[in-house]
């Protein structure tokens, strides 16, 4: 009996010792290492910024490449990344960027001015789908081995924010030329994580870049983007520990995620939902009708019931994280009396009937539309809803065969010029296919692009937001948070409004 007791005690001692050892090892492991698995609803299409269209590819490119500048943590301005300093000429027509020394691509080859010139020359190509972000930039040249010059046809205020977008990512010229048509699949950047493999439709595996220019980073050994198409399945895999981060969490699953111990990370103010009306269809050509409908939208209760509080009523067509956002530029609120009053002044004082299209599978937008339809009925407007398969709905919109479209806007650059340039300037896309045509607004959009004085620019964009709330070419609904569910073991995960995950600052506890 004694022996047994003794044995037990030794066992206990051993267990304690092992426990101490294990926790010490665990503590050490918390400092570096680990594989982080991120579940996303779809795969990427390419690593080539020039051919990129979808968010997943954009976010991934923001992870594997660096750019000359990056957004600051608060998202309010830009700070150096691959460029250490820059100087804009007094006339605003040239900008010189001094490149950081000692930056290497994944294969160890140095990043040179030539790589920057090559990457940015492709970025500013006006025949590419992102050239519009850099439209006044005419050329990119190397002044010397460590200086790159951008030349513009006119002063261009959004230059720095535009250079922080995925479209201005810097990659290796030698690799791009070597890969030829496969360049979109075999990238070579300077980011903290490099591509190990891409098993299409399944996962993208990134591994730590040993040549990363930021000393001591990253902490993680590997980052894996796994495709998990089903919303519920993403939450389950997080709960079971198969993944550590689930992206695109639908608002109605937030409680379920926190219930299973996950933390919620949100990026508020990066996207705004809005309704586009086709002004070729009567009576949507009348501002009074559009604004009456805008006043009949109960943004508060939509944020509460449809988004479970993970949204806030929008006060502008600009997402609130946008530079020069103004939440006090005559925002439209829920006011049925005002709505009736406006409608009474229109050609359809007692109301009318129409059909709006909602993409199938988008239960959130469908609920928004249903709540809206109920209050529209109170001012005499009957809105019937028709669900159309997503790509078909897109086609109807692109060819302007839609009546009303429910969608959202996410900024790629924090500069307001991107959204204002396509929404309120009717030239590039017919006012986001609304046929809204306002010369005053167009003039302001063009002026804002060239104003280098922030105070002056603020005035311009406040005025533009005021016009948007006066004419209601787009009816803004709510600001949607981008929601992530994150396992408690993950530390330092703070995605920004552009969708950049910044995994170089993330670590994991075992």
């Amino acid at each position: 009996m004694n022996i047994v007791k003794q044995g037990r005690r030794i066992g206990l001692l051993m267990a304690t010792a092992l426990g101490i050892f294990a926790s010490a090892a665990g503590w050490a492991a918390a400092q570096t290492g680990g594989t982080l698995v991120v579940a996303r609803p779809a795969d990427i299409f390419t690593f080539d910024p020039y051919n990129t269209q979808d968010d997943r590819s954009i976010f991934t490119e923001l992870t594997i490449y660096d750019r000359l500048v990056k957004l600051t943590a608060d998202g309010k301005s830009v700070e150096p990344e691959l460029a250490t300093a820059w100087k804009v000429s007094p006339d605003g027509l040239t900008a010189d960027f001094t490149l950081r020394e000692g930056v290497k691509f994944w294969d160890g080859s140095p990043m040179t001015a030539e790589d920057v010139v090559f990457s940015l020359t492709r970025a500013i190509d006006q025949t590419g789908s992102w050239g519009f972000l850099f439209s006044p930039v005419k050329s990119v040249t190397a002044v010397d081995a460590k200086t790159v010059r951008l030349t513009m046809s006119e002063p261009f205020a959004p230059l720095l924010p535009a250079l922080s977008t995925f479209a201005a990512s810097i990659y290796s010229k030698a690799n791009f030329e070597k890969q030829g048509t496969a360049a979109g699949e075999k990238p070579m950047g300077s980011g903290a994580f490099m591509l190990e493999s891409w098993n299409k439709g399944q996962e993208v595996v990134l591994t730590k870049n040993p040549n990363y220019w930021q000393q001591g980073k990253p902490s993680l050994d590997k980052v894996i983007f796994r495709v998990v198409g089903d919303d519920n399945a993403r939450m389950l895999q997080l709960a079971s520990g198969d993944v550590q981060i689930a992206t695109d969490v639908p608002p109605n699953l937030v409680d379920q995620a926190t219930g299973s111990g996950a933390q919620i990370a949100t990026v508020p103010g990066s996207a705004v939902g809005f309704v586009t009306m086709n002004e070729k269809i009567k009576p949507f050509d009348e501002a009074a009708v559009r604004c009456a409908m805008a006043h009949a939208l109960d943004r508060e209760s939509i944020a509460k019931t449809v988004y479970f509080g993970k949204a806030t009523p929008a006060k502008s067509i600009l997402p609130s994280s946008t530079f020069f956002y103004d939440g006090n530029a005559d925002p439209i609120g829920y006011d049925l009396a005002k709505a009736k009053e406006l409608l009474a002044k229109s050609s359809v004082p007692t109301g009318f009937t129409f059909t709006a299209t909602v993409p199938t599978g988008d239960s959130t937008r469908l609920s928004v539309a249903q709540i809206w339809a109920a209050s529209l009925a109170q001012i005499g407007i009957t809105m019937n809803l028709e669900q159309v398969e997503a790509t078909t709905a897109q086609e109807m919109y692109n060819t302007e065969k839609f009546t009303m479209r429910m969608s959202g806007w996410t900024n790629d650059t924090p500069d307001p010029d991107e959204l204002m340039g396509v929404a309120l300037d009717y030239q590039p896309q017919n006012g986001l296919h609304s046929s809204y045509r306002n010369d005053e607004a167009r003039k302001l959009v063009l002026a804002g692009r060239g104003q280098l004085d922030p105070a002056e620019r603020q005035k311009t964009y406040t005025e533009l937001q005021r016009i948007a709330s006066r004419d209601c070419p787009f009816i803004y609904t709510v600001e949607e948070d981008r929601i992530f569910a994150v396992a408690p073991s993950v530390k330092g995960f703070a995605p920004n409004s552009q969708g950049k995950y910044s995994f170089e600052d993330v670590s994991m506890q075992p």
Binding site: G184, K200, G201, L236, E389, T391
Partner: protein, 312 residues
């Protein structure tokens, strides 16, 4: 028999040809083409024109089809617009996991169905029979996307018995990873098998040769396995081969839920993105599978029931 099988093989050709025409036209009838799917709201007329030209979508339909056919006959099924790669390469790598999933589903369905069908048939009209029939009717009513999520939650998250994500690392690990997805689909397939097997068993149990066997004093176990079961299985093979298309539908959903990169999830994704070439090849593969399974079913009949071979 060999001539018969060869003849059946030849019938595959017109079937695949017909499927290729129907699918080719169907995908082009859906409004919105790949340029819209890939360019989204940023589609300017110039970009759309460039993409359409790249894909040869400007040609008349019949010309597009002939182009497709002449290339397909030479083994070139085109380029996936989204993956920017040969469609064959994109699709074929995903086939093994889908085939494994289907095979396991059939196996699990039969393993579940046989004992319950037996209980039901032997205790016909009694409580166990009613219980089995009610339980399987409920199972039949459960949509795969729901039962999949529930199984993943219960067996994967709550009790941590089985993995719920991905295909594993090959071998036994992959089989373990496939358990939940195949069980999910099997729950939808098994009720059909139970129902068929039950009535077939009842018929066989009442037939003269069983009575004779019993009268001759054959051991019940021997009688059941060698006479009753074997003679009852033929309708089961029929019902599984007929429902094979339904099973394919199940794999499409299960692959989505359990993160398996198979042909089913590829097909669904490609319909959303209008990746014509992928849709065409994936449906051809599925059509071929359905035809081959039905052919295999015929062969299995002959093994199970030699009278069939004699009749021919």
């Amino acid at each position: 028999m060999i001539r018969y099988i060869a003849g059946r093989f030849l019938q595959v050709v017109p079937v695949l040809f017909g499927v290729s025409i129907v699918v080719f036209l169907l995908v082009r009838l859906i409004p919105g083409d790949p340029s819209v799917a890939v360019l989204g709201s940023r589609a300017t007329p110039e970009l759309v024109a460039r993409v359409r030209d790249q894909l040869g979508l400007d040609l008349p339909l019949w010309q597009q089809y002939l182009n497709y056919l002449s290339h397909a006959l030479r083994g070139d099924f085109g380029i996936s617009f989204f993956y920017q790669a040969n469609v064959w390469d994109v699709t074929i790598v995903r086939l093994p996991i889908t085939l494994a999933l289907m095979a396991m589903t059939v196996l699990i369905s039969v393993i579940i169905a046989v004992p319950f069908a037996f209980i039901s048939a032997v205790r016909r009209g009694q409580l166990p029979d009613h219980a089995v029939r009610i339980a399987f009717t409920i199972a039949l009513g459960m949509p795969v996307f729901w039962s999949g999520i529930m199984l993943a939650y219960l067996l994967g998250v709550k009790w941590r018995l089985l993995p719920i994500a991905g295909p594993g690392h090959g071998g036994v690990d992959t089989l373990v990873h496939l358990l939940l997805p195949s069980l999910t689909i099997a729950i939808a397939i098994a009720p059909i098998v139970v129902r068929t097997l039950r009535s077939s068993l009842i018929e066989v149990l009442g037939s003269d040769f069983v009575t004779t066997g019993r009268a001759m004093g054959l051991k019940p176990r021997f009688l059941t396995l060698n006479y009753v079961l074997r003679n009852s299985l033929r309708p089961v093979v029929t019902v599984i081969s007929i429902n094979f298309g339904y099973l394919i539908g199940g794999t499409v959903i299960a692959e989505q839920i359990f993160s398996l990169a198979g042909v089913g999830s590829l097909l669904i994704g490609s319909i959303g993105t209008r990746d014509y070439a992928v849709i065409q090849l994936a449906t051809l593969i599925f059509a071929l599978l359905v035809v081959l399974v039905n052919l295999a079913a015929d062969v299995i009949y002959m093994v199970l029931d030699p009278r069939m071979a004699l009749a021919r």
